[in-house]
């Protein structure tokens, strides 16, 4: 058992938790914004994939990681807006639209790769660039803390800043109020003159932007190439994190961290004497447990409210 504690308190481990969490957290932020506006974007998985391939292709063409990153984020926004067009203008179902985005991205990213490189598996023949890791001046020299906080990929820091930005945006700005009111009751929002369609476009665009950063992290930060279906379920885990976090920024960030922790912990346990099947289910068990706890707390709250109502009557 001593080994397990050694693993958890190692700086390498905490560092890897942050790294594993980054793409999940970014996609989860995307899920929050769209969900709060009442348009649940389940196409995050697909948007991440398309952003990942776009980043690789454009950075290889321009030989600039930053133009690649910019293009990846633009691709994310674009796809989210296309989804928005079908949902908001053509009145298609948002869930079906999201499924379509995921299916399109899984095949479309490979098709794009094939057209551009003649490869169908990985983009190893493209000399794409990687977004650099950042050593924070001063902090990096502090023992332990420096090892954990400094030296991450630029996109990881963008993710952390995004948490703050999303929190402030949703809770402190007029735009945030609009997004929340549209999500709560769009008829009411409409009646006070809010342009519901516009707000939802903006919310979807933002969710595409965050998922785009998440996708770019996969192919331009984590590893240095694109490979088919490399988002590997992270978009779905992000949706679970958002649901478990109750749709608020802080709760979702914490659940994303829990998922990242479970994933990194499962990776670390591989070194110990535990059957691999048990290890691979840890993140999934944590997800199910988390959702159960969420559901139980919610139902008890509802019960309490109902009990109060009865008493009052």
């Amino acid at each position: 058992m001593g080994n397990i504690w050694e693993i958890i308190f190692a700086t390498d481990f905490i560092f890897s938790v942050v790294r594993v969490t980054t793409p999940i957290l970014l996609a989860a932020l995307g899920a929050i914004v769209s969900d709060r506006a009442g348009v649940v974007n389940i196409g995050l998985e697909g948007i991440m994939l398309m952003a990942a391939i776009t980043g690789v292709v454009i950075s290889a063409q321009t030989q600039s990681a930053f133009i690649g990153l910019f293009a990846a984020v633009c691709a994310g926004i674009l796809i989210a807006l296309i989804l928005g067009y079908f949902v908001l203008e053509m009145k298609s179902n948002i869930i079906l639209g999201g499924i379509a985005v995921n299916l399109f991205a899984s095949g479309g990213s490979v098709f794009l790769l094939y057209v551009l490189t003649g490869e169908k598996g990985t983009s190893s023949s493209l000399a794409s660039k990687v977004v650099p890791n950042i050593n924070i001046p001063i902090i990096k020299d502090i023992p332990i803390i420096g090892e954990i906080i400094s030296g991450h990929n630029l996109i990881t820091y963008i993710a952390i800043l995004s948490v703050v930005a999303v929190y402030l945006m949703l809770n402190k700005t007029p735009m945030g109020t609009k997004i929340r009111s549209v999500g709560e009751n769009y008829h009411a929002a409409e009646s006070v003159g809010i342009n519901v369609k516009k707000v939802r476009y903006i919310a979807l665009g933002l969710s595409g932007m965050f998922a785009g950063f998440g996708g770019a992290f996969l192919s331009m930060g984590y590893v240095s190439w694109f490979s088919r279906d490399m988002s590997a379920g992270r978009g779905w885990i992000a949706l679970a994190a958002e649901a478990m976090g109750g749709g608020n920024t802080i709760g979702t960030t914490i659940t994303a961290l829990i998922f990242g922790f479970a994933q990194a912990f499962a990776n670390s346990l591989q070194g110990l004497n535990i059957p691999s099947e048990l290890i691979t289910i840890i993140p999934n068990v944590v997800t199910v447990l988390g959702l159960c706890i969420f559901a139980i707390t919610k139902t008890t709250k509802v019960r309490k409210v109902k009990a109060n109502e009865k008493n009052n009557n």
């Binding site: 390498d12 890897s16 790294r19 594993v20 793409p23 490979v110 094939y114 490869e119 169908k120 598996g121 990985t122 190893s124 023949s125 493209l126 000399a127 794409s128 996969l218 984590y222 590893v223 240095s224 190439w225 490979s227 088919r228 279906d229 490399m230 590997a232 990194a264 990776n267 670390s268 591989q270 070194g271 004497n273 059957p275 691999s276 099947e277 691979t280």
Partner: protein, 370 residues
């Protein structure tokens, strides 16, 4: 009336255009004359239960088909049936009705190949990567001795970790990253362990399974963990996930062994700093095995109705020996050459994971656990 005529014309044109586009990656169907003189006008179709671009056995099989086309002027076609197995049966139906001399397929379609070869006794089938032992009189099945191949990889890893090479450390600890805990992967593992133990009986092997074949970030994460725990060379057998290990090797400045294709050469142009970390790759040479089978088919010596296990002796498996491999000392390379020779002659017998229970597999893994 004019409109109707126009529409009819449009329909006709579109039918012509559409039907003109249906040929898949190759020449049109073989003509009936193929039946009279099959030797002069060989035709072969390759049914892939997946898509090309895996940089592994499907690409290798396609390469074999292209070699057959070049060498024998054969009419060939490749069909990517995708991973959706409901599409396999219709493609098999099309193939058996299409007058092909040889139908190639393999891997996940082994059972389907066997069933079809019983139903169509006049059709010749070749399984390029079999995973079952049933034999039919018109089916030739090839199975690769992955364990022999990874025995060599294990020997390389053990030699490297003991050597005074630049990036090797003191510990006699090597790594293995598998895609899943399944016999196909464990067969590699057993050969790897035995090969390493042949060089150093006390060697320790750190084994990780990703549980997924398409998640390179996870492969990288597991790779970093291995290298941080004192592993200085690790072998990836995990498809796309395994590519992450190669990234980890570059980042942590350690060594890795590739699989399926020459992965050092694969990254040579786009990521020249990574290739030197990939000392060698363990490759199943499906293309050469297919070419060999066709050659035998043409001179009538191919033993249909037999499951053949091809290995080093047949040149069907081998290590990639490129410039990066030459980082190994001359004496170490001589040891590998000697082992290749012994394996080919059958002087060394390598164990296999097929037929082992999970408990037996655990005993083997636990014995080398660090």
């Amino acid at each position: 009336m004019k409109k109707v005529k126009f529409l009819a014309l449009l329909l006709l044109v579109s039918i012509i255009i559409l039907t003109g586009c249906t040929s898949i990656n190759g020449d049109s169907k073989p003509t009936q004359t193929g039946d009279e003189t099959p030797e002069e006008n060989l035709s072969a179709i390759l049914l892939i239960p997946g898509v090309l671009g895996d940089k592994s056995f499907f690409d290798s099989a396609y390469n074999g088909l292209k070699m057959i086309e070049e060498q024998y002027g054969a009419t060939v076609r490749v069909v990517e049936m995708t991973g959706d197995f409901t599409k396999w049966e219709p493609n098999f139906m099309d193939a058996v009705e299409g007058d092909w001399d040889i139908i190639f397929s393999g891997s996940d379609t082994s059972e389907m190949l066997y069933n079809y070869s019983l139903r169509y006794p006049d059709q010749k089938f070749i399984n390029f990567d079999s995973n079952m032992s049933d034999a039919a009189p018109n089916l030739y099945s090839m199975e690769y001795k992955a364990n022999e191949l990874s025995f060599l990889a294990g020997a390389v890893a053990a030699l490297v970790t003991e050597s005074d090479m630049e990036l090797a450390n003191e510990d006699a600890l090597i790594g293995f990253l598998g895609g899943m805990d399944i016999p196909g992967i464990n067969d590699f593992l057993i050969g790897y362990i035995e090969g390493a133990q042949y060089i150093n009986p006390d060697i320790k092997v750190m084994v990780s399974y990703a549980g997924v074949f398409t998640d390179p970030p996870k492969g990288k994460e597991l790779g970093i963990l291995q290298y941080n725990s004192g592993v200085d060379i690790s072998f990836n057998v995990a498809g796309g996930t395994g590519l992450g290990l190669l990234d980890a090797a570059k980042e942590q400045n350690k060594y890795a062994i590739g699989v399926d294709s020459d992965q050092a050469v694969m990254f040579e142009e786009t990521d020249p700093d990574k290739s030197p970390h990939i000392l060698t790759s363990a490759i199943k040479k499906i293309d050469y095995a297919m070419l060999d089978a066709v050659e035998k088919h043409l001179d009538g010596s191919l033993e249909y109705g037999v499951n053949v296990k091809v290995g080093l002796a047949e040149g069907a498996v081998g290590l990639a020996k490129n410039v990066y491999y030459e980082q190994l000392s001359e004496s170490d390379r001589a040891i590998i050459d000697e082992l290749e020779d012994k394996l080919a002659k059958g002087e060394i017998k390598v164990g296999t994971a097929y037929g082992l229970t999970a408990e037996e597999m655990n005993v083997i893994r636990d014995a080398v656990k660090p």
